[in-house]
């Protein structure tokens, strides 16, 4: 077999110095990465565990605190509130984004044959712009649009005879504003993945469906969806990972307000560490966040990916 031949060749090759042999290269190529990750990730996490066992005031260590930070972390209402609204926002925003993105992908797919390829490229580029744009700027754009008296959204509402909403001044309004902004930024991303997936689908099942005389809806439900499901799951996973990290655009648009109604996990944790300068508490809380992430990943794994080869 080829691989046997290869193995023999590798071992018996004349003129290949030991240092260039597969054995060495195999590890030489991988060790820098492991080292970097150990130094930049594992060491800081270890440091964090140690720091979480000390008390801090104004950013300086003031003594050994034992588990006091951990106890405070579990009692920290601000922190758990942050976890709650992050999950709430995710659960509301992500499904809607998936649906709209899928609808858009199918819509574009169905008219794509009427468009010359350059126009198609252009349309895809334009759709992608909100995702590529600096998220800080997106936050600024939507802050402008949602201003109570001078923003466009309420102006539009009044023109359509809808009641004006207190977007940035009420908790529900602010979260709604964050979600609307999220649609603008992230639907392009999901769309792109789903659209590429749609385009890569094989034709035979569609031929068969046509021959069977199934309607558009039936084709969609019985052919498209099942074939697209791995792509949908991947898009969902990627989207979830990024949703829980939300920071830049919220920082720019609301700063976490009004009050603490848009203090998502990233904002709250950053606030504890860099504004309150209570690193002990922050270090304990970040571990809780890490555990939560693992839990969610495990949940996804069991829900969607069990039995399926996860692309890793």
């Amino acid at each position: 077999m080829a691989s046997n031949r290869l193995a023999n060749a590798a071992q018996g090759r004349r003129g290949v110095h030991f240092l260039l042999s597969d054995q060495v290269i195999k590890y030489a190529f991988i060790i820098p990465a492991i080292l970097v990750l150990l130094v930049l990730m594992v060491y800081p996490l270890g440091y964090a565990i140690n720091a979480s066992l000390h008390t801090y005031f104004l950013g300086k260590q003031t003594g050994f605190g034992g588990l006091v930070n951990w106890v405070n972390a579990f009692q920290d209402t601000f922190f758990w509130h942050a976890v709650g609204i992050t999950l709430l926002y995710s659960v509301i925003a992500i499904p809607i984004e998936m649906v709209i993105a899928l609808a858009l992908a199918i819509a574009l797919q169905s008219i794509s044959f009427r468009l010359p390829s350059t126009l198609m490229s252009l349309v895809r580029s334009v759709i992608l712009i909100p995702f590529i744009v600096m998220q800080v700027v997106s936050g600024i754009i939507w802050k402008l649009l949602f201003l109570p008296q001078f923003g466009f959204v309420n102006y539009l509402f009044s023109a359509l005879h809808l009641p004006s909403v207190d977007w940035l001044g009420s908790p529900t309004g602010a979260i709604a504003a964050v979600i609307v902004m999220d649609f603008w930024i992230w639907i392009p991303f999901v769309f792109l993945i789903l659209f590429s997936g749609l385009q890569a689908l094989p034709e035979e099942p569609y031929e068969a469906a046509r021959v069977d005389g199934s309607s558009s809806w039936q084709t969609f439900y019985h052919v498209t969806l099942p074939l697209l499901s791995p792509v949908i799951v991947t898009a969902l996973s990627l989207r979830t990972i990024d949703a829980l990290r939300i920071f830049d655009q919220v920082y720019a648009m609301t700063g976490g307000g009004p009050g603490t109604s848009t203090m998502f996990i990233s904002l709250q944790l950053a606030n504890t560490a860099f504004s309150e300068l209570n690193f002990g508490l922050a270090d304990a809380e970040l571990f809780i966040v890490l555990m939560l992430m693992y839990l969610i990943i495990a949940l996804y794994y069991f829900l969607f990916l069990r039995g399926r080869m996860f692309h890793a």
Partner: protein, 308 residues
């Protein structure tokens, strides 16, 4: 060897997305042979156009805000087109722009290069060799943890360490932080790109007496070059756009990056809307041009691993 390369090059069209879907794709949601559009198609057209308007209008709003004077911005109801075009915001923003642009640039390029070099090598090794579970498992665990968890979690202890080492508020410190997040991303992406280059090519060279290094540098890398480009572009994009690290790892213009400088215009005290909008426009115009020019690479980068 050259023949193999050429055969592979022609197959590499599989790595790109078809820019014009073959005609048969219309069978996906509509029956074939359609000269006159059905109502479904009208709905699709309307949907796509509405979405494009939804996408472009906020950008238009930013542009006109940047051209209005501060007084005109604070007007109710808002004007849909500036009454007097004023470039004052741009002038004010442009005065301090240079240093932040430089900082962002250095940090982005530096961290991406390091991440690309280390990550590509590791990715190659991971796709071509078998490792004991401890080694590959460890690496994957670290990669996935960084890739999936919230960046703030790493920034907090990293800040404390950098501060102790005197690397707080330095470009080097920032680069280290961005390498931390860039490296797993590169490994993740390059593993999927390398998996698309068949090992048989490697074997062909090795059997002929070439070294593994020759295989890597002369065969595999050039073949994966489009993927490399996509990966580098994506990594640079995320670093360039990032606010979080810049906000907390810098304290003055020595190391402050562009997004941080923009956010500085937002204050509860007296928000300088005109400058803010101008800064926003200046910051995103390169992005928009980028999207138009290298759309293919972006798409590849974004969909890598998601779509086979």
């Amino acid at each position: 060897m050259r023949d193999e390369q050429q055969t592979w090059a022609s197959k590499s069209s599989a790595l790109t997305l078809p820019s014009r879907p073959p005609a048969a794709d219309t069978a996906k949601t509509l029956p074939r042979i359609r000269r006159s559009p059905r109502w479904g198609e009208y709905v699709s057209w309307i949907g796509v156009i509405l979405f494009l308007v939804w996408t472009l209008f906020p950008l238009y709003w930013l542009l006109i805000t940047s051209l209005k004077s501060n007084d005109e911005i604070l007007r109710s109801p808002p004007t849909l087109f500036p009454l007097h075009i004023s470039g004052a915001g741009y002038v004010s923003f442009g005065e301090t722009f240079g240093q932040f642009l430089f900082n962002s640039g250095v940090v982005t390029i530096g961290s991406t290069i390091v991440a690309m070099i280390i990550g590509t090598m590791a990715a190659y090794s991971l796709t071509r060799f078998r490792f004991p579970l401890l080694v590959s498992g460890l690496l994957w665990f670290l990669v996935l943890t960084v890739r999936m968890t919230i960046p703030v979690a790493f920034i907090i202890p990293l800040y404390q360490i950098l501060a102790q080492l005197g690397l707080y508020n330095t470009l080097i410190g920032l680069m280290l932080a961005y390498t931390l997040t860039g490296l797993p991303f590169v490994i993740w992406l390059m593993v999927s790109f390398f998996s698309e280059v068949p090992p048989s090519l490697d074997e062909a060279v090795l059997v002929d007496g070439g070294s593994r290094l020759t295989v890597f540098f002369r065969i595999v890398l050039p073949l994966a070059a489009p993927g490399l480009a996509a990966c580098a572009i994506m990594a640079m994009l995320f670093t360039w756009n990032d606010l979080l690290f810049g906000l907390f790892l810098t304290s003055n213009a020595d190391a402050m990056t562009l997004p941080v400088s923009i956010v500085g215009f937002i204050t509860q005290y007296a928000t300088l809307w005109s400058q803010l909008a101008s800064g926003g426009v200046i910051a995103i115009i390169p992005m928009i041009i980028l999207v138009m020019l290298i759309q293919k690479q972006l798409v590849r980068g974004l969909t890598a691993g998601a779509v086979k």
